[in-house]
Protein backbone atom coordinates (compact mmCIF):
# COMPACT_ATOMS: atom_id res chain seq x y z
CA UNK A 1 0.00 0.00 0.00
CA UNK A 2 1.19 3.52 -0.85
CA UNK A 3 0.05 6.63 0.97
CA UNK A 4 0.72 10.10 -0.37
CA UNK A 5 1.80 12.89 1.98
CA UNK A 6 1.83 16.52 0.81
CA UNK A 7 5.05 18.30 1.77
CA UNK A 8 3.44 21.35 3.32
CA UNK A 9 1.74 22.81 6.41
CA UNK A 10 1.65 20.16 9.16
CA UNK A 11 4.33 18.11 7.41
CA UNK A 12 6.80 20.56 8.93
CA UNK A 13 5.49 19.85 12.41
CA UNK A 14 4.51 16.17 12.46
CA UNK A 15 6.15 14.27 9.61
CA UNK A 16 8.33 12.09 11.91
CA UNK A 17 5.18 10.99 13.77
CA UNK A 18 3.43 9.96 10.58
CA UNK A 19 6.50 8.43 9.02
CA UNK A 20 7.28 6.15 11.96
CA UNK A 21 3.63 5.20 12.37
CA UNK A 22 3.08 4.14 8.78
CA UNK A 23 6.52 2.57 8.39
CA UNK A 24 5.95 0.36 11.43
CA UNK A 25 2.62 -0.70 9.97
CA UNK A 26 4.41 -1.60 6.77
CA UNK A 27 2.91 1.13 4.61
CA UNK A 28 4.98 2.96 2.05
CA UNK A 29 4.81 6.78 2.29
CA UNK A 30 5.17 8.89 -0.84
CA UNK A 31 6.00 12.51 -0.03
CA UNK A 32 5.46 15.17 -2.69
CA UNK A 33 8.60 16.86 -4.05
CA UNK A 34 9.93 20.03 -2.42
CA UNK A 35 8.05 23.17 -3.49
CA UNK A 36 9.04 24.33 -6.96
CA UNK A 37 7.76 27.01 -9.28
CA UNK A 38 5.27 24.88 -11.28
CA UNK A 39 3.90 23.33 -8.09
CA UNK A 40 3.64 26.76 -6.48
CA UNK A 41 1.84 28.18 -9.52
CA UNK A 42 -0.64 25.29 -9.60
CA UNK A 43 -1.42 25.78 -5.92
CA UNK A 44 -2.06 29.49 -6.37
CA UNK A 45 -4.52 28.73 -9.20
CA UNK A 46 -6.35 25.99 -7.27
CA UNK A 47 -6.70 27.56 -3.84
CA UNK A 48 -9.18 30.21 -2.84
CA UNK A 49 -7.93 33.75 -3.24
CA UNK A 50 -8.78 34.55 0.36
CA UNK A 51 -6.44 32.08 1.98
CA UNK A 52 -2.79 32.41 2.98
CA UNK A 53 0.30 31.59 0.96
CA UNK A 54 1.27 28.29 2.64
CA UNK A 55 -2.27 26.94 2.16
CA UNK A 56 -2.08 27.85 -1.52
CA UNK A 57 1.24 26.07 -1.84
CA UNK A 58 -0.24 23.06 -0.04
CA UNK A 59 -2.87 22.69 -2.77
CA UNK A 60 -0.06 22.37 -5.30
CA UNK A 61 1.46 19.58 -3.22
CA UNK A 62 -1.81 17.69 -2.96
CA UNK A 63 -2.47 17.94 -6.65
CA UNK A 64 1.03 16.70 -7.47
CA UNK A 65 0.22 13.47 -5.59
CA UNK A 66 -2.38 12.55 -8.21
CA UNK A 67 0.33 11.38 -10.58
CA UNK A 68 2.14 9.30 -7.98
CA UNK A 69 -0.15 6.25 -8.01
CA UNK A 70 -0.97 6.34 -4.34
CA UNK A 71 -3.84 4.44 -2.74
CA UNK A 72 -4.66 7.23 -0.32
CA UNK A 73 -3.80 10.85 0.27
CA UNK A 74 -3.12 11.45 3.97
CA UNK A 75 -4.83 14.58 5.30
CA UNK A 76 -5.21 14.37 9.07
CA UNK A 77 -7.57 16.82 10.69
CA UNK A 78 -5.43 18.22 13.47
CA UNK A 79 -7.73 20.29 15.61
CA UNK A 80 -5.68 20.56 18.76
CA UNK A 81 -2.35 19.00 19.63
CA UNK A 82 -1.99 20.15 23.21
CA UNK A 83 -4.16 21.16 26.12
CA UNK A 84 -6.36 24.20 25.64
CA UNK A 85 -4.96 25.35 22.33
CA UNK A 86 -6.12 25.03 18.75
CA UNK A 87 -4.40 24.87 15.43
CA UNK A 88 -5.21 27.47 12.79
CA UNK A 89 -8.87 27.36 11.69
CA UNK A 90 -7.73 27.13 8.07
CA UNK A 91 -6.29 23.69 8.79
CA UNK A 92 -9.33 22.27 10.58
CA UNK A 93 -11.61 21.91 7.61
CA UNK A 94 -8.89 20.90 5.24
CA UNK A 95 -10.03 17.38 4.22
CA UNK A 96 -13.41 18.70 3.03
CA UNK A 97 -12.03 21.83 1.38
CA UNK A 98 -9.49 19.82 -0.57
CA UNK A 99 -11.87 17.16 -1.84
CA UNK A 100 -14.29 19.80 -3.06
CA UNK A 101 -11.58 21.63 -5.01
CA UNK A 102 -9.52 18.75 -6.41
CA UNK A 103 -12.07 16.20 -7.54
CA UNK A 104 -10.19 13.29 -9.08
CA UNK A 105 -8.04 12.70 -6.01
CA UNK A 106 -7.36 9.22 -4.60
CA UNK A 107 -9.43 8.54 -1.45
CA UNK A 108 -8.49 10.75 1.50
CA UNK A 109 -7.25 9.02 4.64
CA UNK A 110 -8.06 11.13 7.68
CA UNK A 111 -8.72 11.07 11.40
CA UNK A 112 -9.50 13.68 14.01
CA UNK A 113 -6.68 14.68 16.31
CA UNK A 114 -8.23 16.63 19.14
CA UNK A 115 -6.02 16.65 22.23
CA UNK A 116 -7.53 19.78 23.69
CA UNK A 117 -8.96 18.01 26.71
CA UNK A 118 -7.03 14.79 26.83
CA UNK A 119 -3.55 13.96 25.49
CA UNK A 120 -4.62 10.28 25.16
CA UNK A 121 -6.66 11.30 22.13
CA UNK A 122 -3.45 11.03 20.12
CA UNK A 123 -3.38 7.25 20.51
CA UNK A 124 -7.07 7.07 19.73
CA UNK A 125 -6.69 8.98 16.49
CA UNK A 126 -3.77 6.84 15.39
CA UNK A 127 -5.70 3.65 16.20
CA UNK A 128 -8.56 4.93 14.11
CA UNK A 129 -6.18 5.46 11.18
CA UNK A 130 -4.72 1.98 11.56
CA UNK A 131 -8.16 0.41 11.76
CA UNK A 132 -9.24 2.12 8.54
CA UNK A 133 -6.32 0.44 6.83
CA UNK A 134 -7.30 -2.94 8.30
CA UNK A 135 -4.59 -3.55 10.88
CA UNK A 136 -5.18 -5.23 14.24
CA UNK A 137 -4.91 -3.37 17.51
CA UNK A 138 -1.62 -4.97 18.62
CA UNK A 139 0.16 -4.04 15.43
CA UNK A 140 -1.26 -0.53 15.60
CA UNK A 141 -0.11 -0.11 19.20
CA UNK A 142 3.46 -0.95 18.15
CA UNK A 143 3.24 1.71 15.45
CA UNK A 144 1.83 4.25 17.91
CA UNK A 145 4.78 3.77 20.22
CA UNK A 146 7.29 4.07 17.41
CA UNK A 147 5.51 7.20 16.22
CA UNK A 148 5.62 8.89 19.61
CA UNK A 149 9.28 8.07 19.97
CA UNK A 150 10.20 9.42 16.54
CA UNK A 151 8.27 12.64 17.14
CA UNK A 152 9.91 13.17 20.53
CA UNK A 153 13.35 12.65 19.00
CA UNK A 154 12.56 15.12 16.21
CA UNK A 155 11.41 17.77 18.66
CA UNK A 156 14.47 17.19 20.83
CA UNK A 157 16.77 17.62 17.86
CA UNK A 158 15.08 20.88 16.89
CA UNK A 159 15.30 22.02 20.48
CA UNK A 160 19.03 21.40 20.34
CA UNK A 161 19.29 23.64 17.30
CA UNK A 162 19.52 20.93 14.64
CA UNK A 163 18.72 21.96 11.06
CA UNK A 164 15.17 20.99 10.09
CA UNK A 165 16.26 18.95 7.06
CA UNK A 166 18.37 16.68 9.27
CA UNK A 167 16.09 16.63 12.29
CA UNK A 168 13.13 15.50 10.21
CA UNK A 169 15.13 12.41 9.27
CA UNK A 170 16.02 11.87 12.92
CA UNK A 171 19.65 12.59 12.21
CA UNK A 172 21.83 14.28 14.73
CA UNK A 173 25.06 15.89 13.65
CA UNK A 174 27.79 17.86 15.32
CA UNK A 175 26.84 21.49 15.25
CA UNK A 176 29.34 24.18 14.65
CA UNK A 177 29.52 25.91 18.00
CA UNK A 178 31.94 28.63 16.98
CA UNK A 179 31.01 32.00 18.43
CA UNK A 180 29.27 34.17 15.84
CA UNK A 181 29.21 37.93 15.79
CA UNK A 182 25.50 38.17 15.08
CA UNK A 183 22.61 35.99 16.12
CA UNK A 184 19.12 36.62 14.77
CA UNK A 185 15.91 35.15 16.12
CA UNK A 186 13.80 34.28 13.08
CA UNK A 187 10.11 33.92 13.88
CA UNK A 188 7.49 32.33 11.71
CA UNK A 189 5.47 29.21 11.06
CA UNK A 190 7.60 26.15 10.39
CA UNK A 191 5.81 25.64 7.07
CA UNK A 192 7.07 29.04 5.93
CA UNK A 193 10.54 29.05 7.46
CA UNK A 194 11.58 25.55 6.48
CA UNK A 195 10.11 25.60 2.98
CA UNK A 196 13.03 26.97 1.05
CA UNK A 197 11.06 28.03 -2.01
CA UNK A 198 8.12 29.66 -0.27
CA UNK A 199 10.29 31.53 2.22
CA UNK A 200 12.61 32.68 -0.61
CA UNK A 201 15.26 30.90 1.45
CA UNK A 202 15.35 33.64 4.02
CA UNK A 203 17.39 31.46 6.38
CA UNK A 204 19.99 30.75 3.72
CA UNK A 205 20.15 34.44 2.84
CA UNK A 206 20.73 35.44 6.45
CA UNK A 207 23.41 32.77 6.82
CA UNK A 208 25.17 34.13 3.76
CA UNK A 209 25.38 37.48 5.51
CA UNK A 210 27.35 35.72 8.22
CA UNK A 211 24.66 35.55 10.88
CA UNK A 212 23.48 32.65 12.99
CA UNK A 213 19.77 31.96 12.99
CA UNK A 214 17.73 30.60 15.83
CA UNK A 215 14.08 29.69 15.53
CA UNK A 216 11.15 29.20 17.88
CA UNK A 217 11.68 25.43 17.85
CA UNK A 218 14.84 25.87 19.93
CA UNK A 219 12.94 27.31 22.88
CA UNK A 220 11.62 24.72 25.32
CA UNK A 221 7.95 24.60 26.16
CA UNK A 222 8.50 25.36 29.85
CA UNK A 223 10.05 28.68 28.93
CA UNK A 224 7.26 29.42 26.47
CA UNK A 225 4.65 28.71 29.15
CA UNK A 226 6.51 30.99 31.53
CA UNK A 227 6.14 33.92 29.15
CA UNK A 228 2.58 33.03 28.22
CA UNK A 229 1.51 33.12 31.85
CA UNK A 230 2.36 36.81 31.92
CA UNK A 231 -0.18 37.62 29.21
CA UNK A 232 -3.50 39.04 30.37
CA UNK A 233 -5.34 36.50 28.21
CA UNK A 234 -4.54 32.97 27.05
CA UNK A 235 -2.96 32.56 23.67
CA UNK A 236 -5.08 29.73 22.29
CA UNK A 237 -3.41 29.17 18.92
CA UNK A 238 -0.63 26.65 19.43
CA UNK A 239 1.74 27.90 16.72
CA UNK A 240 1.24 31.53 17.68
CA UNK A 241 1.84 30.64 21.29
CA UNK A 242 5.19 29.11 20.42
CA UNK A 243 6.21 31.99 18.18
CA UNK A 244 5.22 34.64 20.69
CA UNK A 245 6.78 32.84 23.64
CA UNK A 246 10.00 32.36 21.69
CA UNK A 247 9.96 36.03 20.71
CA UNK A 248 9.74 37.12 24.33
CA UNK A 249 12.55 34.74 25.21
CA UNK A 250 14.75 36.12 22.37
CA UNK A 251 14.03 39.67 23.52
CA UNK A 252 15.28 38.77 26.99
CA UNK A 253 18.35 36.96 25.67
CA UNK A 254 21.36 39.29 25.27
CA UNK A 255 22.97 36.79 22.88
CA UNK A 256 20.19 37.46 20.35
CA UNK A 257 20.92 40.72 18.55
CA UNK A 258 17.68 41.15 16.67
CA UNK A 259 14.41 39.56 15.61
CA UNK A 260 12.94 39.01 12.16
CA UNK A 261 9.35 37.88 11.74
CA UNK A 262 8.64 36.06 8.50
CA UNK A 263 4.92 36.31 8.03
CA UNK A 264 2.65 35.51 5.14
CA UNK A 265 0.01 37.73 3.65
CA UNK A 266 -3.42 36.69 4.85
CA UNK A 267 -2.30 35.06 8.11
CA UNK A 268 -4.79 36.12 10.77
CA UNK A 269 -2.90 35.02 13.90
CA UNK A 270 0.37 36.50 12.61
CA UNK A 271 -1.17 39.93 12.17
CA UNK A 272 -1.77 40.06 15.90
CA UNK A 273 1.44 38.35 17.00
CA UNK A 274 3.62 40.62 14.85
CA UNK A 275 2.19 43.66 16.55
CA UNK A 276 2.67 42.22 20.03
CA UNK A 277 6.27 41.33 19.25
CA UNK A 278 6.89 44.75 17.77
CA UNK A 279 5.62 46.49 20.89
CA UNK A 280 7.74 44.32 23.16
CA UNK A 281 10.81 44.93 21.01
CA UNK A 282 10.25 48.66 21.04
CA UNK A 283 9.99 48.70 24.83
CA UNK A 284 13.28 46.87 25.12
CA UNK A 285 15.11 48.56 22.24
CA UNK A 286 15.61 45.30 20.36
CA UNK A 287 15.74 45.63 16.55
CA UNK A 288 12.75 44.00 14.89
CA UNK A 289 11.62 43.64 11.31
CA UNK A 290 8.52 42.03 9.80
CA UNK A 291 8.74 40.57 6.32
CA UNK A 292 5.39 39.72 4.80
CA UNK A 293 5.58 37.31 1.91
CA UNK A 294 2.95 36.52 -0.65
CA UNK A 295 2.91 35.00 -4.10
CA UNK A 296 4.10 38.21 -5.75
CA UNK A 297 7.04 38.90 -3.48
CA UNK A 298 10.21 39.61 -5.41
CA UNK A 299 13.61 38.64 -4.11
CA UNK A 300 15.14 42.08 -4.67
CA UNK A 301 13.05 43.88 -2.08
CA UNK A 302 13.61 41.11 0.43
CA UNK A 303 17.38 41.09 -0.05
CA UNK A 304 17.53 44.88 0.33
CA UNK A 305 15.68 44.73 3.63
CA UNK A 306 17.70 41.81 4.98
CA UNK A 307 20.99 43.37 3.96
CA UNK A 308 20.08 46.71 5.53
CA UNK A 309 18.90 44.96 8.67
CA UNK A 310 22.10 42.96 9.06
CA UNK A 311 24.17 46.09 8.36
CA UNK A 312 22.26 47.85 11.09
CA UNK A 313 22.78 45.05 13.63
CA UNK A 314 26.46 44.87 12.80
CA UNK A 315 26.96 48.60 13.32
CA UNK A 316 25.01 48.52 16.57
CA UNK A 317 27.12 45.68 17.91
CA UNK A 318 30.31 47.52 16.93
CA UNK A 319 29.18 50.64 18.71
CA UNK A 320 28.15 48.71 21.83
CA UNK A 321 31.47 46.91 21.89
CA UNK A 322 33.31 50.20 21.55
CA UNK A 323 31.42 51.69 24.43
CA UNK A 324 31.95 48.76 26.76
CA UNK A 325 35.64 48.64 25.87
CA UNK A 326 36.07 52.20 27.06
CA UNK A 327 33.61 52.10 29.87
Amino acid sequence: MRIGVPRGLLFFYYYPLWEAFFRTLGVELVVSAPTSRPLFNRGVVLASDETCLPVKVFFGHIESLREKQVDYVFLPRMVSMEKRTYLCPKLLGFPEVVTSVITDLPPVLTANFNLRKNPKELDKALHELGKQLGYNARRIQQAVEAAREAQARFEDLLLGGQEFDLAVKGRSAERNTAEVALRIGVLGHAYMLYDRFTSLDIKGKLSKFGTEIITAETVDSGEIDHYMEQLPKKMFWSHSKRILGAAYSFIDDPRVHGLVHLSCFGCGPDSMIADMVERACRRRGKPFMVLTLDEHTGEAGLVTRLEAYVDMLRRRVEVENNISAHG
Partner: protein
Amino acid sequence: MNRLYLGVDVGSVSTNLVLMDENREVRQGLYLRTQGRPLETIQKGLSQLKLDGGMINGVGTTGSARNLAAAVLGADVVKNEITAHAVASSNLVPGVQTILEIGGQDSKIIILRNGVVSDFAMNTVCAAGTGSFLDQQAGRLDIEIEDFGDIALTSKLPVRIAGRCSVFAESDMIHKQQLGHSMPDILAGLCEAMVRNYLNNVGKGKDIQAPVVFQGGVAANRGIRRAFEQALGLEIIVPEHFSVMGAVGAAILAQEAVAGGKPSCFRGLNTATSQFIASSFECSGCPNLCEIVQIGLEDNVLARWGDRCGKWAVQEVSPAETETA
Protein backbone atom coordinates in the same frame (compact mmCIF):
# COMPACT_ATOMS: atom_id res chain seq x y z
CA MET B 1 45.76 64.63 -9.68
CA ASN B 2 42.41 64.92 -7.93
CA ARG B 3 41.10 61.68 -6.55
CA LEU B 4 37.37 61.36 -7.19
CA TYR B 5 34.77 58.82 -6.12
CA LEU B 6 31.78 57.87 -8.20
CA GLY B 7 28.50 56.95 -6.51
CA VAL B 8 25.69 55.53 -8.59
CA ASP B 9 22.11 55.00 -7.39
CA VAL B 10 19.92 53.23 -9.93
CA GLY B 11 16.32 53.31 -8.83
CA SER B 12 13.10 52.47 -10.61
CA VAL B 13 12.36 56.07 -11.50
CA SER B 14 15.69 57.89 -11.43
CA THR B 15 19.33 57.06 -11.92
CA ASN B 16 21.69 59.33 -10.01
CA LEU B 17 25.41 59.75 -10.36
CA VAL B 18 27.61 61.71 -8.02
CA LEU B 19 31.27 62.64 -8.29
CA MET B 20 32.76 63.33 -4.90
CA ASP B 21 36.25 64.44 -4.01
CA GLU B 22 38.59 63.32 -1.24
CA ASN B 23 37.03 65.85 1.18
CA ARG B 24 33.56 64.44 0.54
CA GLU B 25 32.50 67.52 -1.41
CA VAL B 26 30.04 66.78 -4.18
CA ARG B 27 31.66 67.97 -7.42
CA GLN B 28 28.87 66.92 -9.73
CA GLY B 29 25.45 65.42 -9.23
CA LEU B 30 23.32 64.01 -12.03
CA TYR B 31 19.64 63.17 -11.74
CA LEU B 32 18.44 61.20 -14.77
CA ARG B 33 15.18 59.43 -15.44
CA THR B 34 15.70 55.67 -15.64
CA GLN B 35 12.72 55.26 -18.00
CA GLY B 36 12.86 51.49 -17.80
CA ARG B 37 16.36 51.32 -19.32
CA PRO B 38 18.85 51.19 -16.44
CA LEU B 39 21.79 50.02 -18.54
CA GLU B 40 21.54 52.81 -21.12
CA THR B 41 20.84 55.39 -18.41
CA ILE B 42 23.99 54.45 -16.50
CA GLN B 43 26.01 54.79 -19.71
CA LYS B 44 24.35 58.11 -20.52
CA GLY B 45 25.20 59.40 -17.04
CA LEU B 46 28.77 58.23 -17.38
CA SER B 47 29.22 60.16 -20.63
CA GLN B 48 28.02 63.35 -18.89
CA LEU B 49 30.58 63.20 -16.08
CA LYS B 50 33.09 66.04 -15.96
CA LEU B 51 36.27 64.92 -14.29
CA ASP B 52 38.10 68.27 -14.68
CA GLY B 53 41.44 66.55 -14.65
CA GLY B 54 40.49 64.30 -11.75
CA MET B 55 40.56 60.54 -11.74
CA ILE B 56 37.95 58.11 -10.53
CA ASN B 57 39.50 56.22 -7.68
CA GLY B 58 36.56 54.21 -6.44
CA VAL B 59 33.00 53.31 -7.45
CA GLY B 60 30.02 52.43 -5.31
CA THR B 61 26.54 51.41 -6.42
CA THR B 62 23.18 51.30 -4.68
CA GLY B 63 19.48 51.21 -5.56
CA SER B 64 17.31 48.40 -6.83
CA ALA B 65 19.56 47.91 -9.89
CA ARG B 66 22.77 48.07 -7.82
CA ASN B 67 23.99 44.68 -9.00
CA LEU B 68 23.43 45.55 -12.62
CA ALA B 69 25.24 48.86 -12.15
CA ALA B 70 28.07 47.13 -10.31
CA ALA B 71 28.54 44.58 -13.08
CA VAL B 72 28.61 47.24 -15.78
CA LEU B 73 30.83 49.75 -13.99
CA GLY B 74 33.10 47.49 -12.02
CA ALA B 75 32.14 48.66 -8.55
CA ASP B 76 34.25 48.49 -5.40
CA VAL B 77 31.22 48.37 -3.14
CA VAL B 78 27.57 47.41 -3.64
CA LYS B 79 25.21 48.48 -0.88
CA ASN B 80 21.51 48.61 -0.16
CA GLU B 81 19.71 51.98 -0.27
CA ILE B 82 19.07 52.18 3.48
CA THR B 83 22.73 52.03 4.41
CA ALA B 84 23.69 54.38 1.57
CA HIS B 85 21.13 57.01 2.57
CA ALA B 86 22.08 56.81 6.22
CA VAL B 87 25.78 57.19 5.43
CA ALA B 88 25.16 60.20 3.20
CA SER B 89 22.91 61.98 5.69
CA SER B 90 25.11 61.51 8.69
CA ASN B 91 28.02 62.93 6.72
CA LEU B 92 26.17 66.00 5.44
CA VAL B 93 24.07 66.67 8.53
CA PRO B 94 26.12 65.59 11.55
CA GLY B 95 23.98 64.37 14.41
CA VAL B 96 20.96 63.56 12.23
CA GLN B 97 18.49 61.35 14.11
CA THR B 98 15.71 60.84 11.58
CA ILE B 99 15.78 60.49 7.80
CA LEU B 100 12.57 60.73 5.81
CA GLU B 101 13.12 59.53 2.28
CA ILE B 102 10.50 59.52 -0.45
CA GLY B 103 11.51 58.40 -3.88
CA GLY B 104 9.71 57.40 -7.03
CA GLN B 105 8.45 53.96 -6.06
CA ASP B 106 9.39 53.59 -2.46
CA SER B 107 9.55 55.50 0.72
CA LYS B 108 11.50 54.78 3.84
CA ILE B 109 12.24 56.10 7.26
CA ILE B 110 15.61 55.63 8.93
CA ILE B 111 16.17 56.28 12.62
CA LEU B 112 19.74 56.93 13.70
CA ARG B 113 21.12 57.19 17.18
CA ASN B 114 24.72 58.14 17.83
CA GLY B 115 25.40 57.99 14.12
CA VAL B 116 24.23 54.39 13.77
CA VAL B 117 21.04 53.15 12.13
CA SER B 118 18.92 51.89 14.99
CA ASP B 119 15.64 51.30 13.18
CA PHE B 120 14.21 51.58 9.70
CA ALA B 121 11.12 50.78 7.69
CA MET B 122 10.26 50.71 4.03
CA ASN B 123 6.86 50.94 2.42
CA THR B 124 5.25 47.65 1.53
CA VAL B 125 4.08 46.60 -1.92
CA CYS B 126 1.84 49.62 -2.48
CA ALA B 127 3.27 52.72 -4.16
CA ALA B 128 0.62 55.06 -2.73
CA GLY B 129 2.27 58.10 -1.25
CA THR B 130 5.41 58.00 -3.38
CA GLY B 131 6.72 60.25 -6.10
CA SER B 132 5.08 58.33 -8.94
CA PHE B 133 1.64 59.21 -7.62
CA LEU B 134 2.48 62.91 -7.39
CA ASP B 135 3.85 62.74 -10.94
CA GLN B 136 0.68 61.14 -12.16
CA GLN B 137 -1.58 63.68 -10.45
CA ALA B 138 0.49 66.60 -11.72
CA GLY B 139 0.06 65.16 -15.20
CA ARG B 140 -3.69 64.82 -14.76
CA LEU B 141 -4.00 68.43 -13.54
CA ASP B 142 -1.68 69.60 -16.29
CA ILE B 143 0.81 71.31 -14.01
CA GLU B 144 4.57 70.84 -14.00
CA ILE B 145 5.73 68.61 -11.16
CA GLU B 146 8.35 71.28 -10.38
CA ASP B 147 5.57 73.83 -9.68
CA PHE B 148 3.49 71.44 -7.57
CA GLY B 149 4.89 72.40 -4.19
CA ASP B 150 4.92 76.15 -4.77
CA ILE B 151 1.30 76.13 -5.86
CA ALA B 152 0.40 74.10 -2.76
CA LEU B 153 2.15 76.66 -0.55
CA THR B 154 -0.25 79.40 -1.64
CA SER B 155 -3.18 77.50 -0.16
CA LYS B 156 -5.08 79.06 2.73
CA LEU B 157 -7.35 76.12 3.55
CA PRO B 158 -6.15 72.70 2.41
CA VAL B 159 -9.01 70.30 1.68
CA ARG B 160 -9.09 66.89 3.31
CA ILE B 161 -8.16 64.05 0.97
CA ALA B 162 -7.99 60.34 1.75
CA GLY B 163 -4.36 59.35 1.45
CA ARG B 164 -4.57 55.68 2.33
CA CYS B 165 -4.82 54.51 -1.25
CA SER B 166 -3.96 56.39 -4.42
CA VAL B 167 -7.15 55.22 -6.14
CA PHE B 168 -9.29 56.72 -3.38
CA ALA B 169 -7.10 59.80 -3.22
CA GLU B 170 -7.66 60.45 -6.89
CA SER B 171 -11.44 60.05 -6.70
CA ASP B 172 -11.48 62.28 -3.60
CA MET B 173 -9.50 64.94 -5.45
CA ILE B 174 -11.83 64.84 -8.44
CA HIS B 175 -14.81 65.12 -6.14
CA LYS B 176 -13.35 68.17 -4.36
CA GLN B 177 -12.38 69.80 -7.63
CA GLN B 178 -15.94 69.38 -8.98
CA LEU B 179 -17.30 71.02 -5.84
CA GLY B 180 -15.28 74.11 -6.71
CA HIS B 181 -12.30 73.97 -4.37
CA SER B 182 -9.26 75.84 -5.70
CA MET B 183 -6.26 74.10 -7.17
CA PRO B 184 -3.84 75.24 -4.41
CA ASP B 185 -6.21 73.93 -1.71
CA ILE B 186 -6.49 70.57 -3.44
CA LEU B 187 -2.73 70.26 -3.96
CA ALA B 188 -2.01 71.26 -0.38
CA GLY B 189 -4.61 68.73 0.75
CA LEU B 190 -2.85 66.06 -1.25
CA CYS B 191 0.47 66.99 0.37
CA GLU B 192 -1.09 66.62 3.82
CA ALA B 193 -2.73 63.33 2.88
CA MET B 194 0.56 61.96 1.63
CA VAL B 195 2.40 62.95 4.78
CA ARG B 196 -0.37 61.47 6.94
CA ASN B 197 -0.17 58.23 4.99
CA TYR B 198 3.62 58.15 5.28
CA LEU B 199 3.60 58.73 9.02
CA ASN B 200 0.87 56.13 9.56
CA ASN B 201 2.48 53.44 7.46
CA VAL B 202 6.21 53.77 7.14
CA GLY B 203 6.60 55.93 10.23
CA LYS B 204 4.26 53.89 12.41
CA GLY B 205 5.62 53.65 15.95
CA LYS B 206 8.97 55.17 15.01
CA ASP B 207 10.63 57.55 17.43
CA ILE B 208 11.00 60.64 15.23
CA GLN B 209 13.44 63.12 16.76
CA ALA B 210 15.24 66.21 15.49
CA PRO B 211 17.36 66.82 13.51
CA VAL B 212 15.09 65.48 10.78
CA VAL B 213 16.41 65.27 7.24
CA PHE B 214 14.04 64.95 4.28
CA GLN B 215 15.55 63.57 1.10
CA GLY B 216 14.72 61.74 -2.11
CA GLY B 217 13.20 63.26 -5.24
CA VAL B 218 9.98 64.27 -3.45
CA ALA B 219 11.95 66.52 -1.07
CA ALA B 220 11.98 69.05 -3.94
CA ASN B 221 8.28 69.55 -3.24
CA ARG B 222 8.03 72.41 -0.76
CA GLY B 223 4.40 71.61 -0.11
CA ILE B 224 5.26 68.18 1.23
CA ARG B 225 8.05 69.66 3.29
CA ARG B 226 5.69 72.13 4.94
CA ALA B 227 3.14 69.38 5.56
CA PHE B 228 5.84 67.37 7.36
CA GLU B 229 6.80 70.40 9.45
CA GLN B 230 3.20 70.91 10.48
CA ALA B 231 2.53 67.25 11.21
CA LEU B 232 5.70 66.71 13.24
CA GLY B 233 6.13 70.17 14.74
CA LEU B 234 9.83 69.92 13.94
CA GLU B 235 12.14 71.72 11.58
CA ILE B 236 12.74 69.71 8.41
CA ILE B 237 16.18 69.94 6.84
CA VAL B 238 16.41 69.37 3.10
CA PRO B 239 20.08 68.91 2.23
CA GLU B 240 21.54 70.54 -0.86
CA HIS B 241 21.88 67.27 -2.74
CA PHE B 242 18.59 65.82 -1.51
CA SER B 243 17.71 64.13 -4.80
CA VAL B 244 20.99 62.22 -5.13
CA MET B 245 21.68 61.28 -1.51
CA GLY B 246 21.77 57.55 -2.25
CA ALA B 247 24.54 58.17 -4.78
CA VAL B 248 26.38 60.41 -2.30
CA GLY B 249 26.26 57.56 0.21
CA ALA B 250 27.54 55.10 -2.39
CA ALA B 251 30.44 57.45 -3.19
CA ILE B 252 31.37 57.73 0.51
CA LEU B 253 31.21 53.94 0.86
CA ALA B 254 33.42 53.63 -2.24
CA GLN B 255 35.96 55.96 -0.65
CA GLU B 256 35.95 53.77 2.46
CA ALA B 257 36.24 50.60 0.36
CA VAL B 258 39.39 51.67 -1.44
CA ALA B 259 40.98 53.35 1.55
CA GLY B 260 44.33 51.76 2.23
CA GLY B 261 45.36 51.79 -1.40
CA LYS B 262 43.20 49.00 -2.79
CA PRO B 263 43.06 49.45 -6.59
CA SER B 264 39.60 50.25 -7.91
CA CYS B 265 37.63 47.75 -10.00
CA PHE B 266 36.30 50.59 -12.17
CA ARG B 267 36.24 49.67 -15.83
CA GLY B 268 36.94 53.22 -16.97
CA LEU B 269 34.95 56.00 -18.58
CA ASN B 270 34.94 54.29 -21.96
CA THR B 271 32.38 51.96 -20.39
CA ALA B 272 29.94 54.63 -21.60
CA THR B 273 30.36 53.45 -25.15
CA SER B 274 30.91 49.74 -24.54
CA GLN B 275 28.38 47.36 -26.00
CA PHE B 276 26.78 45.64 -23.07
CA ILE B 277 24.36 42.89 -23.84
CA ALA B 278 21.73 41.99 -21.29
CA SER B 279 20.01 38.73 -22.05
CA SER B 280 17.99 36.21 -20.12
CA PHE B 281 17.15 32.55 -20.34
CA GLU B 282 15.26 29.98 -18.36
CA CYS B 283 17.41 27.37 -16.65
CA SER B 284 15.94 23.90 -17.04
CA GLY B 285 18.26 22.21 -14.55
CA CYS B 286 15.47 21.59 -12.03
CA PRO B 287 11.72 22.22 -11.70
CA ASN B 288 12.30 25.72 -10.34
CA LEU B 289 12.92 27.02 -13.87
CA CYS B 290 14.79 30.10 -12.63
CA GLU B 291 15.01 33.06 -14.94
CA ILE B 292 18.68 33.86 -15.35
CA VAL B 293 19.79 37.32 -16.38
CA GLN B 294 23.16 37.62 -18.01
CA ILE B 295 25.19 40.76 -18.62
CA GLY B 296 27.80 40.44 -21.34
CA LEU B 297 30.49 42.71 -22.71
CA GLU B 298 31.50 41.62 -26.19
CA ASP B 299 32.27 37.91 -25.77
CA ASN B 300 32.68 37.94 -21.99
CA VAL B 301 29.96 37.25 -19.48
CA LEU B 302 30.35 39.81 -16.69
CA ALA B 303 27.62 38.69 -14.36
CA ARG B 304 24.62 36.44 -14.05
CA TRP B 305 21.90 36.38 -11.46
CA GLY B 306 18.43 35.04 -10.83
CA ASP B 307 19.36 31.45 -10.04
CA ARG B 308 18.42 30.03 -6.70
CA CYS B 309 21.17 27.42 -6.53
CA GLY B 310 24.12 29.56 -7.59
CA LYS B 311 25.26 27.30 -10.43
CA TRP B 312 25.27 30.19 -12.92
CA ALA B 313 27.35 32.54 -10.78
CA VAL B 314 30.25 34.03 -12.69
CA GLN B 315 33.66 33.92 -11.09
CA GLU B 316 34.65 37.46 -10.27
CA VAL B 317 36.89 38.99 -12.85
CA SER B 318 39.67 41.16 -11.48
CA PRO B 319 39.99 44.66 -12.93
CA ALA B 320 43.39 43.93 -14.41
CA GLU B 321 42.00 41.09 -16.46
CA THR B 322 39.16 43.16 -17.86
CA GLU B 323 41.47 45.92 -18.93
CA THR B 324 43.69 43.62 -20.93
CA ALA B 325 40.77 41.67 -22.32
